[in-house]
């Protein structure tokens, strides 16, 4: 009895120690799983000279259809390029933030890995192990247009996007009809009126997954895009300085909008994508009329409902115009998914990325439903959904596409902004506090 109790105490003391291990391991020991990267040669340019090359590929597609498709594309590429072997390793999205720093600290890093560009990429470039592929991509990067600039750091290309996203409103046509709304709103006043109509009809107007923070950030960032002139916006993000008045106005506009209580009950604790009670789940199941979300949202929704007819019930409209702002009324918020190369196999990796943005692969991405908007305009013909065609043409026509702030800014500041916006959204802090988070 006694020694048992002692052992419990010792176990507890060990638990204290283990906590420190967790804490310390987290802070950057490079004991990540062995990937076998670089085991075959490791000389750059191996692909060109026909020597065998093994590329380790970390991507975030742990679900179908993309998971299967990436596997097939890797096989296709191996078939067409003798000597190239691709080790495909799907890694859960949330794990990238921990796995990449650990991998880049050591020598066991992947050759190709998921990359969202912007400030996060710039942070990773500091490791010295992300490859500058400006020269390798020069012949073909022009094919995919301006979106590739989001994967530049200090003017050099450190990654290549394969899909494009834009944030807008996904709404239920049936619920809009029920509330007597005939046309999607184009101005903030119209949106306010529609919110009231939906409330009168007993429908939660707008779902938001504020618990996850980034969905709340979409709102504030769009208000900022409408309040701030394009030049001001670009300068502010480049200099990490939000002192311009327009950013305070963005918060005030958002506050005025939120004072109408447009969000679902308990939105402060709602997740964005998990379960039927999440914001995406609510719209998917007809519990809320609309949600400001990225182009991926219909695919998220379809996993959260039994409704096979969901797609036909969904419509899309861009963020409305806001009166009195200096921003372009059609500027859009968005981003994309891409990949970076690391230094060991930069040439072989860049060649593989060229394949990923080729019309051949891009069309497969679209037609399988894995990607909503391709980066290669030649693949746009593969889009069949009328709603997605509308989005594609909106993106083509937008005068200015702003990358999500948390991606565009250095990681620590981007996340601090997300936190400040999320706090502001749930009623803690002022418009000035959000601006103060950027320092």
């Amino acid at each position: 009895m006694r020694s048992l109790r002692l052992r419990t105490a010792v176990a507890a003391a060990m638990a204290v120690g283990a906590m420190a291990v967790v804490a310390a391991c987290g802070s950057g020991d490079s004991s990540s799983t062995s990937t076998g990267a670089g085991t075959s040669g490791g000389s750059t340019g191996a692909a060109a000279s026909g020597e065998p090359v093994t590329l380790t590929w970390w991507h975030n597609a742990t679900n179908d259809p993309l998971k299967t498709l990436w596997g097939k594309i890797a096989k296709d590429y191996e078939g067409a390029n003798a000597g190239v072997t691709i080790k495909v390793q799907p890694i859960q999205n949330e794990q990238f933030t921990t796995k990449i720093p650990l991998a880049l600290q050591g020598d066991d890093f992947p050759d190709v890995y998921q990359q969202w560009g912007g400030g996060q990429q710039a942070t990773q470039v500091q490791s010295g192990k992300v490859a500058d592929i400006t020269d390798q991509v020069a012949p073909w990067i022009g094919d995919i247009g301006g979106i590739a600039d989001g994967w530049k750091t200090d003017g050099k290309q450190y990654g290549v996007p394969y899909s494009q996203h834009v944030v807008g409103f996904w709404y239920r046509k049936d619920l809009f009809e029920k509330a007597g709304i005939t046309e999607p709103p184009t101005t903030l006043d119209e949106l306010n009126a529609d919110v009231q109509k939906l409330k009168d009809a007993g429908i939660a107007p707008i779902a938001i997954g504020a618990k996850d923070r980034w969905p709340a950030a979409f709102w504030w960032e769009y208000f900022a895009l409408r309040a701030c002139a394009t030049d001001t916006m670009q300068q502010a993000l480049a200099n990490v300085d939000f002192s311009d008045e327009c950013f305070v106005k963005a918060g005030e506009d958002m506050k005025a909008f939120m004072d109408t209580k447009p969000f679902q009950d308990g939105f402060e604790g709602t997740t964005a994508q998990q379960g039927a009670g999440s914001s995406a789940g609510m719209v998917a199941n007809g519990k809320a009329a609309m949600e400001l979300q990225g182009t991926w949202n219909p695919y998220v929704m379809s996993d959260l409902t039994e409704d096979k007819e969901l797609f036909s019930k969904l419509g899309w409209f861009p963020f409305p115009e806001v009166e009195g702002g200096a921003g372009d009324p059609h500027a859009a918020l968005g981003g994309g998914d891409g990949f970076s190369c690391t230094t060991k196999q930069a040439d072989a990796c860049a060649a593989f990325l060229e394949y990923l943005v080729s019309p051949e692969v891009q069309k497969q991405l679209v037609s399988s439903g894995a990607t909503t908007l391709p980066v290669n305009p030649e693949a746009a013909s593969a889009i069949t959904e009328p709603t997605v065609k509308d989005i594609q043409s909106y993106v083509n026509d937008t005068p200015f596409m702003q990358t999500y702030f948390d991606v565009a800014l250095p990681t620590d500041i981007g996340q601090a902004v997300n936190d400040a916006i999320a706090d502001f959204t749930v009623g803690q802090g002022s418009p000035e506090d959000v601006v103060a988070a950027v320092r």
């Binding site: 109790r5 120690g17 804490a23 310390a24 950057g28 504020a210 923070r213 009950d265 999320a422």
Partner: protein
């Protein structure tokens, strides 16, 4: 013959000395074999990481590139100046305090109840202990779903006419911490009960009988005989409970991520958030070191002042 007789004790002594030497050598080998690997692992995976974390904590470091930006104790100062971190410390302390005030009496009461011979005792014990078997992640997801607005909890309350009690459990900044505490209690109460039941089993029934013969009421027998004898078990429970409260992470991280607006953040969720989500590995390490020191100092003091009496005998016997 006589020579033989004379030399016998001497030889016996030599033999005994040699045997003792062999025994000592064997003992040392045994110690090295049994303790060596454990010590090595302990050093490599407990002590060294603590040291490394302390080293990181003195630098500003994004997790990439060389660690060169030495900032001294700046990270520590920043942590204690941050409202969110101070809030997190107070949340940990509130959870620990509530555990002592609510969980402990509840666990003792239920343990005393379950210690009596009653019908379905086994089944009751199983039910009470079941949540402890679930992992924290499963518990968190389970309750996340149950506590959705208009979810199972709200509907149950409405069905029994307590609809007025329905709250935005995970969304209201003034309530969410207590929701967390309720879930933690649901999960860990069974562990406390099992621990206390084991303690109760160790108390001879003769003592209660003797008290009864001396005219003690059942309440008096419980209060003055049983509870004092349960002291060592209660003290261990308090130790485990406070350490657990200070390190609370999984349930909170999954259910709220520390939100809304930091109102349910704990030291551990804050540490992971700053370290891994914001890539502030130096700062995150500083928070980790603070968390470690708080737990460590508490553990030492508690061992020194509260547990010494309970473990002294065990230590002496254990080594002998």
């Amino acid at each position: 013959m006589s020579a033989d007789l004379a030399s016998r004790p001497a030889r016996r002594a030599t033999v005994r000395r040699a045997a003792r030497h062999r025994l000592l050598a064997r003992r040392r080998l045994e110690l090295a074999l049994l303790l060596g690997p454990a010590l090595l692992l302990f050093g490599a995976f407990v002590l060294a990481p603590i040291g490394i974390a302390a080293y990181y904590s003195l630098h500003e470091w994004s997790g990439f590139g060389p660690i060169s930006d030495f900032v001294g104790f700046d990270n520590y100062r920043r942590a204690f100046e941050d409202d969110v971190f101070r809030g997190a410390i107070s949340h940990n302390l509130i959870i620990a305090g509530l555990s002592l005030l609510i969980q402990l009496p509840l666990a003792i009461a239920l343990a005393l109840l379950l210690n009596r011979r009653l019908r379905g005792q086994g089944a009751l014990r199983l039910i009470v202990f079941a949540p402890y078997v679930l992992s924290e992640a499963i518990t968190a997801v389970l309750w996340l779903l149950l506590l959705q607005p208009d979810g199972a909890v709200d509907q149950t309350l409405q069905a029994v006419g307590l609809g007025g009690l329905v709250q935005p459990w995970l969304a209201d900044r003034d309530i969410v911490l207590y929701t967390m505490f309720a879930v933690v209690t649901w999960k860990y109460i069974g562990f406390g009960i099992i621990l206390l039941l084991a303690g109760l089993q160790g108390i001879p029934s003769e003592l209660r009988d003797a008290a009864a013969i001396d005219g003690a009421s059942p309440w008096q027998a419980t209060r003055y005989v049983i509870l004092p004898l349960l002291g060592p078990t209660i003290r261990i429970w308090i130790f485990l409970s406070i350490i657990g409260s200070l390190q609370l992470f999984d349930i909170v991280w999954i259910m709220t991520g520390g939100g809304p607006a930091g109102s349910s953040a704990t030291m551990a969720t804050y540490l992971i958030d700053r370290g891994f989500r914001r890539y502030q590995f130096g700062y995150g390490s500083a928070v980790a070191v603070i968390l470690f020191l708080i737990c460590f100092v508490f553990a030492l003091l508690y061992q020194r002042y509260a547990l010494r009496r309970d473990t002294r005998g065990a230590l002496a016997q254990g080594v002998g």
